[in-house]
Amino acid sequence: MPSTPRVEDPPEVGRNREEPNDGDGEEGYSSDLLDHETFNQLLEMDDDVDHDFSKSIVWHYFEQAETTFQEMDKALSDENLVELSKLGHFLKGSSAAIGLKKVKASCEKMQHYGNMKDETGTESISEEDALKKISSLLEKVKEEYKEAETYLKNFYSERDDTDNTKNTDEKDSSPTEKD
């Protein structure tokens, strides 16, 4: 008998759910840079109300990446291919953990070049060739990293600004790239 109208009440639910689609324009771009599935996994492990955990991981990643780039620069000037391959592998791992696809792919290439292989790791290349390729690749990785860093920093600063009620939906909402 009573209360039929109340069923129609919950517009809030729907609205919350549609929100994620707002950022669609940039979604294609950022998914190239960032593997959302991996990154969301990090976010899912955050506490309900803040991002301390994922943020600390990302910030540690930044630190680690900066150091690694310095080491890469040095190894390149020393023409130390083995070290370059090792560093490539190292940064590849942590980039993959965050889901930074572009940086990861480039690091993988550096790993191969360092082993004096081509970018797929199948054909051998000369040492000279390898060094040349790495020096241009290193610049590219750094750019890609900067891009990722900006993106992530924006993401978190937006997060911090956003109303807390949005946090439950953090999985879906995609911050916009402001670079």
């Binding site: 008998m1 209360s3 109340r6 919350n16 990090l42 540690h60 953990a97 807390n164 009620t165 439950t168």
Partner: protein, 645 residues
């Protein structure tokens, strides 16, 4: 004299020696020429033997002679006179003076000829000694045998003892299991009894009064039931939303908003009777009073919190009040005044549960409210149960799928990458493991040397000592601890290297939470509490990958009055789940007619559900969509049931 041809060396030398007449005093042919005589043994040994035979050993000369079948001629009386006392005369049938040609036929005695002659004589003696030897050996062996037998016996005995021990142990284990089972059954029974007592009571009343005894015609009853489905659907929607909001608020805010709901409800009691059907107005008034009582007392306990509750949105409040109305209507329809305490208790629980979606502080609020609603003892324990459940659900929400460890696994995480260290630590923390971190291979080996781990997660590319080598070193002293390679290089070739160096499995980087959990579960399964797995699950739950959300779970506790009706409103997935809850309560309870009633009640309810299901086919489809959202939003439901059990 010169060249002697034919015959063995020794014989030729002998012949040549005898031809030398200068030795005639010492050695010479015998008188008959068919023998030779050594007259002066001393002289012969010292002068002639060295010259012709390169040694000075008469015995050896005699042995040679014997070998060539020369025989010593016993000195008879006359011959003794002939050559002197000391003379040795040797004879060979073919050895004659001046007959050199026959020397060829003098041969060394063939071993075949000699053997029987040589071996036979000592054989008796050696037989004896051999016999003794053998006898001794046999004695030794039999001694050994008896010793072995004894040992075998003792081993058998200890084996029996061990088997006995194991059997006893098994028995004890079974007894322990049984005890645990009984304990759990008892606990479940206890809970079921409490919920059951109110539930069956209420259900009985609802069936009797609502359907059989009241003057409501059947179409109207149908309508009534339909309205229930709508009501509960609305409730779910609202609860869904409320819980979303509540979850998103800060702890304190949500807590206070919860309190605020209470107060709002109490502040607008007049709206309730107005929406009630006229026939239940007295009941509604009673209910209202109840609400006011409880809210007032909770207000008193929470007054300070209430002051800070301005943040809570009005929407929420109105929703809450609607909810209360709804449940009041429901209870008014079916439940006589006598039951209002129970109903209120369940309403209380509802509110509490909402509050409990936000952590910690809500705990305090629940404990505050418990003393308030001591109207009937079952109420108290109901609330207690629910608050336990909800606080569990909070904990579980944080540590999502945590397996029910009997002992938390101790894990060694080896990685030089800070990101993975952090990530791994977090996962291990979430899954309830204790852990250490090593940053290189040497550290890993040292850790393994110092303490015992249940699992090692090993990066491959490490400074100082890489993961494969570290594993190889660890395997020299520890063959059992599972070591999982944690790496991005997972080509078949790489993997076979890992495995051949003693690693047990590969966890590919970057890993996901579920991959990580799978490894944990695979290799630490022995640490999972067995009792929890052996306890039969309600049949519905196993069918559903992500069963009810905490919202709907909340409902199952909150409004016992309409379990069946509400089931109908949940989507198809939820129906068996709710059902199973009821049935499981019945099957767990170790007796008491109460539970039999309950089971039959639930089947009655189920009939209603089916009816309603048909009537509400369209709304159900909508519900499906909603509930899917619902489940997507919170996929961590199942563990909650495990914890509760």
């Amino acid at each position: 004299m010169s060249n002697i041809s034919g015959g063995p060396d020794f014989v030729r030398k002998l012949f040549k020696m005898l031809e030398d007449s200068s030795y005639s005093d010492v050695v010479s042919w015998g008188a008959n020429g068919d023998s030779f005589v050594v007259k002066e043994i001393d002289a012969f040994t010292k002068t002639i033997l060295p010259r012709h035979f390169k040694h000075s050993n008469f015995a050896s000369f005699v042995r040679q002679l014997n070998k060539y079948d020369f025989h010593k001629i016993r000195s008879t009386d006359d011959s003794a006179g002939l050559y002197g006392e000391q003379a040795w005369e040797f004879h060979h049938p073919q050895f004659h003076y001046n007959n050199r040609d026959q020397l060829d036929s003098i041969k060394r005695k063939t071993p075949a000829n000699r053997k029987p002659a040589a071996v036979n004589p000592p054989s008796d003696a050696s037989n004896n000694s051999q016999l003794n030897d053998l006898q001794n050996q046999i004695n030794n062996l039999s001694k050994l045998q008896s010793v072995m037998n004894e040992r075998l016996l003792s081993l058998n005995k200890s084996y029996d003892a061990v088997v006995q021990d194991i059997l006893n142990f098994k028995k004890n284990m079974v007894a322990q299991d049984q005890l645990m089972h009984e304990l759990i059954q008892y606990l479940i029974g206890l809970e079921a009894e409490k919920s059951g007592s109110s539930r069956s009571f209420v259900n009985g009343n609802s069936l009797d009064d609502g359907i059989n005894n009241t003057f409501v015609p059947s179409e109207q009853a149908q309508k009534l039931i339909n309205s229930y489905t709508q009501v509960s659907r609305a409730s779910i929607d609202q609860m869904n939303e409320i819980s979303q909001r509540v979850q998103s608020l800060h702890n304190i805010t949500s807590n206070t908003s919860n309190m605020n709901n209470h107060s709002i409800i109490s502040s607008e009691p007049l709206t309730i009777p107005s929406t009630l059907p006229s026939l239940g107005s007295e009941n509604a008034m009673g209910l209202n009073n109840n609400i006011r009582n409880i809210n007032n007392s909770s207000d008193a306990t929470m007054s300070n919190l209430f002051l800070t509750s301005q943040r809570s949105s009005t929407i929420e409040n109105s929703e809450m009040s609607k909810m209360t109305e709804i449940s009041q209507q429901r209870s008014n329809d079916f439940i006589p005044e006598a039951m209002f305490n129970n109903v209120m208790s369940s309403d209380n629980v509802t509110v509490l549960t909402v509050g409990h979606l936000s952590p910690k502080q809500s705990h305090a609020s629940s404990s505050n409210i418990i003393p308030v609603s001591t109207a009937s003892p079952s109420n108290v324990s109901r609330i207690d149960n629910t608050s336990q459940n909800t606080s569990n659900s909070m904990r579980v929400h944080r540590s999502t799928f945590m397996p029910a460890w009997s002992v938390p696994p101790k894990v060694l995480l080896v990685d030089d990458d800070l990101v993975y260290q952090k990530f791994g630590s977090k996962l291990l923390e979430v899954f309830g493991c204790s852990f250490d971190i090593a940053v290189d291979g040497i550290g890993a080996v040292n850790h393994m040397n110092m303490s015992k781990y249940d699992l090692v997660l090993m990066d491959i590319v490490l400074p100082n000592l890489d993961g494969v080598e570290a594993t190889a070193q660890i395997r020299r002293f520890d063959n059992s601890t599972p070591i999982i390679s944690m790496t991005s290089s997972i080509s078949q070739q790489d993997c076979s290297i890992y495995l051949s160096n003693g690693m047990n499995d590969v966890l590919a980087k970057p890993f996901s939470k579920s991959m990580f959990l799978k490894i944990l579960e695979n290799y630490c399964s022995h640490l999972v509490m067995p009792n929890f797995q052996s306890i039969p699950r309600p049949f519905g739950i196993s069918d559903i990958s992500t069963p009810t959300t905490s919202n709907s779970d909340m409902f199952s506790h909150s409004s016992d009055t309409s379990v069946g009706e509400k089931n109908n409103d949940h989507n198809d997935n939820l129906v068996p789940n709710q059902m199973s809850l009821t049935v499981s309560n019945g099957s767990y309870s170790s007796g008491g007619p109460m539970f039999t009633i309950m089971s039959s009640m639930s089947s009655n309810d189920y009939m209603q559900q089916v009816m309603n299901h048909i009537a509400n086919a369209s709304s159900v489809t909508r519900k499906n969509a909603l509930d899917k959202d619902f489940q997507d939003q919170r996929p961590c439901k199942k563990p909650k049931f495990e914890v509760i059990e």
